[in-house]
Subunit: 412 residues, 2 copies
Amino acid sequence: MDRYLLISADGHAGPPAHVYREYLDPEYRERFDEQHQEQAALREASPFGQGDQSDFEREWELATDGDGGLTAAYDGAERNRLLDREGVVAEVLFPDADVLGTGRVSSSPFGTGLAAGSQSEPEVAVAGARAHNRWLADFCGDDPHRRIGVAVIPAIIPDMDTVLAMVREAKDLGHTGILVPTRWFDRPPYNEPWYDPLWALVEDLELVLHTHSGAGPTDFTGGYGLGPIYATEAGWWAARPFHVFIWSGLFERFPTLKYSMAENAAWWVPDTIRKMDEKWHGYHNTKKMGSLFRDALPNPPRFYLDRNCFFGASTPGVDDIERRHEIGVGNIMWGNDMPHPEGTFPFTHYFVRERFKDVPDDEARRMLGLTAAEVYGVDTAAVQPLVDRIGPTFEEVHGEDVVLDAPVEAIA
Amino acid sequence: MDRYLLISADGHAGPPAHVYREYLDPEYRERFDEQHQEQAALREASPFGQGDQSDFEREWELATDGDGGLTAAYDGAERNRLLDREGVVAEVLFPDADVLGTGRVSSSPFGTGLAAGSQSEPEVAVAGARAHNRWLADFCGDDPHRRIGVAVIPAIIPDMDTVLAMVREAKDLGHTGILVPTRWFDRPPYNEPWYDPLWALVEDLELVLHTHSGAGPTDFTGGYGLGPIYATEAGWWAARPFHVFIWSGLFERFPTLKYSMAENAAWWVPDTIRKMDEKWHGYHNTKKMGSLFRDALPNPPRFYLDRNCFFGASTPGVDDIERRHEIGVGNIMWGNDMPHPEGTFPFTHYFVRERFKDVPDDEARRMLGLTAAEVYGVDTAAVQPLVDRIGPTFEEVHGEDVVLDAPVEAIA
């Protein structure tokens, strides 16, 4: 049997602040320096690296040779070295590699990364996003078969012409997709016709539309259990664009649009789509609303999920895999979330076996790479020699008595 | 075998506007009249009863003798006549009977019903809630074994002393529980210590705490698919207090508090609580957050669900029943949602058989009435003669070849 083609639908990249600075238009550099100093001051108050490390943080440093994988966030040679070790041939690249807040690499400038959308000044957001997109284009350009660039687009700013110009720039820079903010905050929701020129252009340019988890509730500011409440809600806020896109008829008006929701699992999809379909089919609980649902869509919601929606379900859990047929095997794209510690890096071989050992070969191949190859237009012929060299073997994933490097207790 | 004790954990009651008017403090009556006229004008624009009725609305009128069950919303004799026919012995009473907007009965005055919390003037909300609570006390007082009153409390107003006074009034009026707004809008979220005096008093007075579905998102104002998006999200907004209450340690600080979430199903509970528990136990995806979750609660979230939380899952679906063991058989309380057309009224016998035919007798009895009897302190000895007369028989629920009045196609 051939080795597995592993494509990560969720990776993170970004350079240290001084590198981003060079990619910023000069008039924004002073402002960037100020913000960088403010963030450094905030980090001083952060527990990470301050001596009082958790078991998790200590073990994470050890498991990643003290580096946390952060050099690979911007150094292409190191990136490829780690990817080779992970068995990953290609990856989709989002911003914000440094989720533990070490400051060694930077978020996409001016708040244009995973929590984008809450920044108050559109002009500054545009400048920050442009810097990331330029840097990422260079990073991906160094190894275009392995690195799939996703440009950050501050789609909720009030100036649609600028948004459209940035999407065209993203295409010109060679990016394969765009990332729009997961939340719209006080700007028009994504079901508003105001965004139609954006979706039309994304479809026209054959870019893959993305959202990514990260933004959460904003109505909690303190009180009991703030962190746990946030962590519990984050998945819903990240999932929200899914039903908004579908019910708003986005995929009816733009039928060839491809949408990937990154790093938000997929275990929740079967219930969500089933309940949406029940409404459309006129089940008892919402029957009093009459034709409301069928007026909105000529096909049931499931139709658009099947055709247009993908789940970049990095680090899938047992539940994601168990429910794969209800989700759609062809709609799940595995990822390692490198270099985030909640991902499978640096133990991807171990986690792939853990999750896919009992999954039929054809289904595993689809989720681990084949769907992503199609969605992102990966040149599978060009990467085949790499697959043959580094991809996990069939025996490694499915064989008995295979022992692989496993995470230590603290980070398992 | 004994007949089944049916207690509905979700019923709705409220009189016509002119009756509420008499229960309002006199200084608010002029304002009430103005609002009543505004609402009447809005109804003129509503399709209900305007000739262009949907199949659903026509069939609903026929199935309910043209009345929609709305006389029973305030007329005790008619209520009991319908409950007898339904086989329901007792019921928990929330406001807002008229969800189809006929105007024949009124919502709890000044927006203090199921969508409470968005009204801008606390003083007016207090007056409206008081009027409903007084009316409901009289309505329940006429048949205290069958009618379990839930007082509406505008808990998010800035004046906690008034909130506490209203809770004491509710107890003095003989109510068994209180209903707080499902959403806090721009007021402090329910995880804030600011509410602790309220929860402490509710526990001290042994009142059952409730939220009820109804409030939904407020960031959509138009655009494509507005109604379907709202209907899809409503369940999450209604479910939100569950994880906020649990993670905020509400049931740790007030261990004997009983909380019932009315009319929001329960199929979503197993995944929600499992994911919360995974965080508490330190699963991989949130392990980087360290002791955050265990610092918030000394026991896993499931512990508090089992002990303190109930789901007034009126009109349960197949999924609610199938997942009863994962939810907790003893935490599910059936309801008929009378007189709402999304409920089982006027075909409760049919729907009870449909859902409980294959459920073991002891589990069915618990969900259909025994748990509610315990939670609300129903005098089961006093109502036993009524059960013997009107309750569904074992044969009717579980026997073969039983034919019951079934809803017609349009409202099935």
